[in-house]
């Protein structure tokens, strides 16, 4: 047995408080949490230093407020008969679509439904879609990348050729075919986009990162410590991949929202309402070609798609600076 030398005298008053040896599991947990908070705060300050990071957070924040606002408005000042995004009808307006007014700030659509209500209602489902797709993508891509880099050989060849195949497939066309074959609702769409992203390009990027982690001496140290394959992949490789995964999560949100808009515009999704469907409605009524006269049918939804997509993309770019120290400005 190792016999410890005499305990050193306790530190002077200026030292941080000494935790007695033999403290509890709770203390361990507290220390871990404090560390996590610390590194989060460090990353946060770098993120907030970049203007695009702040801008993206503001935009995402505004959309989050919009998503929350809809149910509150429906419960308080909007009656379901007039303002329901799908079944409502604005009896107070003579012509449909009607131009923006006090009662309908963004006007009504050709079927007499309130555009603002549709816009707010759709925001929530865009968030759900984007985040679900991103989570699926990242979960798959991180695991595939780490496993592929760690084992190499045939496993690697299989996953990388699969990724090549998925990249070679034209994404939107594939989704169009899938939506013809299956009834794609929001959840299935998120799943499909997530799986395509997860086994596709993101997996290749994360694998290349995992390759550079795999050759670090601490992986060898873990093997000498007796760590098995799963221990090394899940304790050493994946935690070091997570920052990059988070970054690609942001980019996946963008592509998911964009894909949804395209498919909805083509009328191929089984959704009640979405930004894409709003533009689709304008198009089927023949109002899309009418120039700027019926702008409220197109601009709110189109601008929302553009803004939210760019916000997540810019957020990803700002996150890139946190994750990738080489892009960071020096400050000591």
């Amino acid at each position: 047995m190792i016999t410890p030398p005499n305990f050193p005298p306790p530190g002077s008053a200026s030292d941080p408080p000494v935790v007695e040896v033999g403290h509890s599991r709770l203390r361990l947990l507290i220390a871990r949490t404090r560390l996590a908070l610390h590194s989060f705060r460090a990353g946060w300050s770098i993120f907030m230093e970049s203007r695009i990071g702040v801008l993206s957070l503001v935009i995402i924040g505004v959309f989050a407020i919009m998503a929350v606002a809809h149910p509150i408005l429906m419960l308080t000042i909007w009656d379901a008969e007039t303002y329901d995004p799908v079944t409502g009808y604005a009896f107070d307006q003579v012509d449909q679509p009607s131009a923006p007014s006090w009662r309908h700030p963004l006007g009504t659509d050709p079927l007499g439904r309130d555009v603002l209500s549709q816009l707010l209602w759709s925001t929530r489902s865009e968030f759900v879609l984007g985040i679900t797709a991103a989570l699926v993508t990242v979960a798959i891509a991180t695991t595939v990348g780490a496993v592929s880099a760690y084992y190499g050989g045939l496993v690697d060849v299989f996953f990388m050729r699969l990724a090549d195949l998925i990249i070679a497939l034209p994404g939107i066309s594939l989704l169009i075919v899938l939506s013809a074959l299956f009834k794609l609702n929001l959840f299935y769409l998120a799943l499909v986009i997530g799986i395509l992203g997860g086994f596709g390009g993101t997996a290749i990027i994360l694998k290349s990162q995992a390759l550079s982690i795999k050759v670090k001496p601490y992986i060898e140290a873990a093997r000498v410590a007796g760590g098995g394959h799963f221990h090394i992949i899940f304790v050493h490789i994946i935690p070091n991949l997570l920052p990059l995964s988070l970054l690609y999560m942001m980019f996946t949100v963008t592509s998911a929202i964009f894909a949804e808009a395209v498919l909805s515009f083509l009328g191929l999704l089984d959704l009640r309402m979405s930004w894409g469907i709003m533009i689709h409605t304008a198009n089927t009524g023949g109002y899309l070609m009418g120039g700027t006269r019926y702008w409220w049918l197109v601009v709110p939804a189109g601008a929302s798609i553009t803004l939210l997509c760019s916000a997540f993309y810019l957020g990803g770019r700002a996150l890139d600076e946190v994750v990738n120290p080489r892009l960071r400005r020096r400050h000591d």
Binding site: M1, I2, P4, P5, F7, P8, P10, G11, D15, P16, V18, V19, E20, V21, G22, H23, S24, R25, L28, A31, R32, R34, L35, V157, K216, P217, Y218, E220, A221, A222, R223, V224, A225, G226, G227, G228, H231, V235, H236, P239, N240
Partner: protein, 348 residues
């Protein structure tokens, strides 16, 4: 490999670790569709032995295969040929037979876990050998956690204990820091703590002081010596610095291009070097005297990569003593020229 060359382990009794005819080759230019046609002979027919509590310094230039020997001994690499046998507590070769030697190739599964508890490695680079996302506690407790030794509470105690032992006191201030918050010397102390926390019988130290600045080097070297003596650990100390090897080790083995060319007790080797390469190394050791004029080195040329080397003596191209006999014959056998002093050379 020279098949006609006899394997001669330079000691009679089987020790804690004994290596005979150890060879490791790395294929060059292999791809999915192409078989390698040439090989780097990183370690070629190396034999030596280490007893409990013993310390052996492995000295040589960069690229001579010292680190590969170390990695082979801790089973980070598998040998191409040759055998390594261990006599480790808790690892018996034959069932029911106490302390029977066990072949490295037979250590798999459950035995590999026990092996990992007995044989540890200290890595060269204290900056890269720790996962930057894990705390000092996580890093040191990793072998314990992986081996399922103790509960979380026990492990905190054990890690605190070992931190005090390696001189990082008070332990509570270090436990939950990240590696980047520590200096190079402190990190190497953590690396030593990680290797020793499972109380191994044998440790491979791969140039643990070469990345540190001179001021923290002696501290680490003293620490390692105290710990090794105090805990009775045998170690293989890989280094390129003869002075470090002299300070740290009972015996020194000099490696050149994958071969051990000379092996002797430390003082014997330094006082009476026989191999021309060892002599050249010793003549290159800095002398703390500004008036000292160094003799021109007796060897010429550079270290080459041992890619498919010719059969003859590895040192032939640079050797001041080389003869026609050396050119026409295979690499000389490793022979005991004086008691306990082994040399591979035809000319001494």
């Amino acid at each position: 490999m020279e098949a006609n060359q006899p394997h001669t382990p330079p000691a009679a009794a089987e020790g804690l670790v004994s290596v005979s005819g150890l060879t490791r080759q790395f294929p060059v230019g292999r791809s999915l569709f192409r078989r390698a046609t040439s090989f780097i002979h990183a370690v070629d027919d190396v034999s030596f032995q280490l007893n409990a509590g013993d310390s052996l310094g492995l000295v040589g230039e960069s690229g001579c295969g010292k680190t590969t020997v170390g990695k082979l001994l801790v089973k980070l690499l598998e040998p191409t040929s040759g055998r390594i046998t261990y006599r480790l507590p808790g690892l018996d070769g034959a069932a029911g037979q106490e302390n029977a030697p066990l072949e490295a190739s037979a250590i798999i599964g459950r035995q590999l876990r026990t092996f990992r508890r007995q044989v540890q490695m200290i890595f060269q680079d204290p900056y890269e050998s720790m996962n930057p996302r894990r705390t000092i506690y996580d890093t040191i407790a990793e072998p314990l956690a992986v081996q399922g030794m103790g509960t979380v509470l026990d492990r905190v105690d054990m890690v605190s204990e070992i931190l005090m032992l390696v001189g990082l006191t008070p332990p509570a201030t270090f436990l939950f820091r990240h590696p980047h918050e520590l200096s190079g010397g402190q990190r190497q102390r953590v690396a030593i703590a990680r290797a020793l926390v499972v109380e191994p019988a044998f440790v491979v130290a791969d140039e643990p002081t070469s990345m540190l600045d001179v001021s923290s080097r002696t501290g680490i070297m003293n620490l390692m010596q105290q710990l090794a003596h105090g805990l009775g650990i045998a170690y293989l100390y890989v280094t390129h610095d003869l002075a470090v090897a002299r300070y740290m080790c009972h015996r020194i083995a000099v490696m050149y291009l994958g071969k051990i060319v000379e092996l002797a007790e430390t003082e014997e080797l330094l006082r009476n070097p026989l191999h021309p390469y060892t002599r050249a190394l010793l003549s290159a050791v800095p002398v703390p005297n500004p008036e000292y004029r160094r003799e021109p080195p007796s060897i010429v040329g550079d270290l080459t990569a041992p890619i498919d080397p010719p059969e003859r003596c590895r040192f032939f191209d640079r050797c001041p003593l080389a003869t026609h006999y050396c050119r026409d014959n295979p690499h000389p056998a490793f022979e005991e020229k004086a008691p306990g002093h082994w040399v591979a050379c035809y000319e001494v």
